[in-house]
């Protein structure tokens, strides 16, 4: 199973016009791992995920998927290469039904052939979606939408799942549910790179973690190490009541 890193980000810079958002960011996700990426708002976490997903090309550095350089690939090719992003805010196809949203997740050639099988497992993981299969996605609740977004991503048969703030705007019970599902998905062999405001839950799920601040990696290590790190505790785990949402 552990054949080497599935994702290697090496010295990546990213710009928005003249504004630099990422400075020499490097990180690694091994096969089957859960890696958390935490940090304050505006740190560049979303930018990094978008860069990996192919929506935003880095101005320097490279991104490798299983050794292959992919930083210039358009987003849909990254999906074919086995990496799927669940973007911030879900970004569902609101006017289309739950079923159609799931179908669209399997659009890439690799996933298309097995889509009926994959659909079955997705509906097993998220039974609430089966109930609402012909409902328009825009009519679902926040939690259900998040599940649909994750389900849609799973339809793409990812080997690496990227998640951008999955707990945003969701009730605590729903968040627990989602994280439980993520654990389950990971146990089935899917690696996960998770950007999360809820640092505690992210660190409890992850094997390793990185802290991103102002576009730079300032800390990294195993999740347990970071959970016990004073700086992390102060800044992101809510001790002394500074920042971060915690349960």
């Amino acid at each position: 199973m552990r054949d080497g890193p599935i994702l290697e980000v090496d010295g990546v810079d990213a710009h928005y016009g003249d504004l630099q958002a990422l400075w020499g960011v490097s990180l690694r996700v091994d096969q089957g791992e859960v890696v958390a990426l935490i940090g304050p708002n505006g740190a560049g976490k979303t930018t990094l995920l978008r860069a990996v997903a192919g929506l935003h090309h880095p101005s320097a550095g490279d991104i490798k998927l299983r050794g292959q350089r992919v930083e210039t690939f358009p987003a849909h090719r990254i999906v074919t290469a086995g990496v799927v992003l669940v973007p911030e805010g879900r970004r569902l196809f609101g006017g289309m039904t739950v079923l159609e949203n799931l179908e669209m997740g399997a659009f890439s050639h690799r996933a298309r052939a097995e889509r009926f099988e994959t659909l079955r497992s997705a509906l097993e993981i998220f039974p609430v979606l089966a109930e609402r299969a012909s409902q328009r996605a825009a009519t679902l609740s926040g939690g259900q939408q998040q599940m649909l977004a994750v389900g849609r991503a799973l339809m793409g048969l990812p080997e690496l799942l990227l998640l951008d703030e999955p707990s945003l705007g969701l009730a605590p019970l729903v968040v627990e549910n989602i994280f439980g599902v993520l654990r389950e998905i990971n146990e089935r062999g899917v690696a996960v790179l998770l950007v999360e405001q809820n640092a505690r839950m992210a660190l409890e799920l992850a094997t390793r973690a990185y802290v991103l601040e102002q576009g730079r990696v300032v800390l990294h290590g195993s999740a347990t190490e970071l959970l016990e790190d004073e700086r992390v505790q102060e800044a992101y785990l809510g001790y002394r009541g500074v920042a971060g949402v915690h349960l």
Partner: protein, 292 residues
């Protein structure tokens, strides 16, 4: 002879409206998916009309049959135009994209119009088939065969498009791209390919509309802009929604124009569309059937 002018006018309004609908649907599709307003759409319609006319004049191909040829011809033209021209603006931010596509379309319209004058002269053309003067007579109303054929073809085309968009994977990818192109990319859809197909499809639909126009209406280089405007007005009336809404708005416009002829005479027909357009923009900018 018209014993009952109102019903006859209404019927003709529906016939013309159906054409307005087909003419508008291609434009609506391209705008809905790509956020590009192709103001050369009418010129593509005009070319479709000429294709039908020449196929008929040279080889006696019935215009309803020539649809099988004109649609693909315009489809290919659309591929070329998108690849060569519109694809360059599609990646810009929305405001610049719309503006530049308008400008490019405007320039393209003039190019195509003048090429048409060069190639085929400014003479007005029309296809007069063997059945052109004939029709059904029901309740004192005349239903010309050409118009009936046009309505049938229009309905068929709209329905086929609907099925394509709702039932096929490619069609769904087009709808998904229209909803959220980034999310579509993230699902594995090549948005560039979607744009290419969509533009080509829009052009093919313009070609279909043009072919229907050639039967019993005039084809001339100058009609391009007129039809573009008609299509634009219908798109604004309908709002962004589904294909049937656009078609319905087209029929509505046709009927409204027909009724206005009764009220204020034929010279001010165009004003009706304009007035409707401005009023809808003022009171209900999302369109009559708009989803947003």
């Amino acid at each position: 002879m018209n014993l009952e002018p109102v019903p006859q006018l209404l019927v003709f309004g529906v016939f013309v409206g159906a054409l307005y609908g087909v003419a508008a649907v291609g434009l609506a599709l391209v705008f809905g998916v790509m956020r590009v307003l192709n103001v050369a759409h009418g010129e593509l319609l005009m070319i479709g009309g000429y294709a039908s006319f020449w196929l008929f004049t040279l080889w006696r191909v019935d215009p309803f049959v020539s649809l099988l040829a004109t649609a693909p011809i315009l489809f290919v033209m659309g591929l070329a135009l998108n690849g060569g021209l519109f694809s360059h603006v599609v990646r810009l931010d929305e405001e610049t994209k719309i503006k530049n596509s308008l400008l490019i379309g405007f320039g393209l319209a003039l190019i195509l119009q003048n090429l048409a004058i060069q190639l085929w002269t400014a003479d007005e053309r029309s296809v007069t088939a063997a059945y052109s003067g004939l029709g059904l007579q029901l309740f004192g109303i005349v239903f010309p065969y050409t118009r009936l054929g046009g309505l049938a073809a229009a309905l068929l085309g709209i329905f086929a498009l609907h099925v394509f968009l709702q039932r096929t994977y490619v069609g769904k990818s087009i709808r998904a791209t229209a909803e959220d192109w980034e999310a579509a990319e993230l699902a594995g859809v090549s948005v560039r390919s979607v744009y290419l197909i969509t533009f080509a499809l829009g052009s093919a639909l313009a070609g279909v509309a043009g072919t229907l126009v050639s039967v019993g209406f005039t084809i001339a280089p100058s009609i391009g802009l007129t039809w573009t405007i008609k299509a634009l007005v219908v798109v604004v009336l309908a709002g962004l929604g589904n294909v049937f809404g656009v078609f319905a708005a087209g029929v509505l416009l046709g009927v409204a124009e027909a009724l206005s002829v009764l009220a204020i005479g034929p010279a001010y027909r165009e004003v009706v569309g304009l007035a409707l357009f401005l009023v809808v923009l003022l009171l209900r900018p999302q369109g009559l059937f708009g989803a947003r």
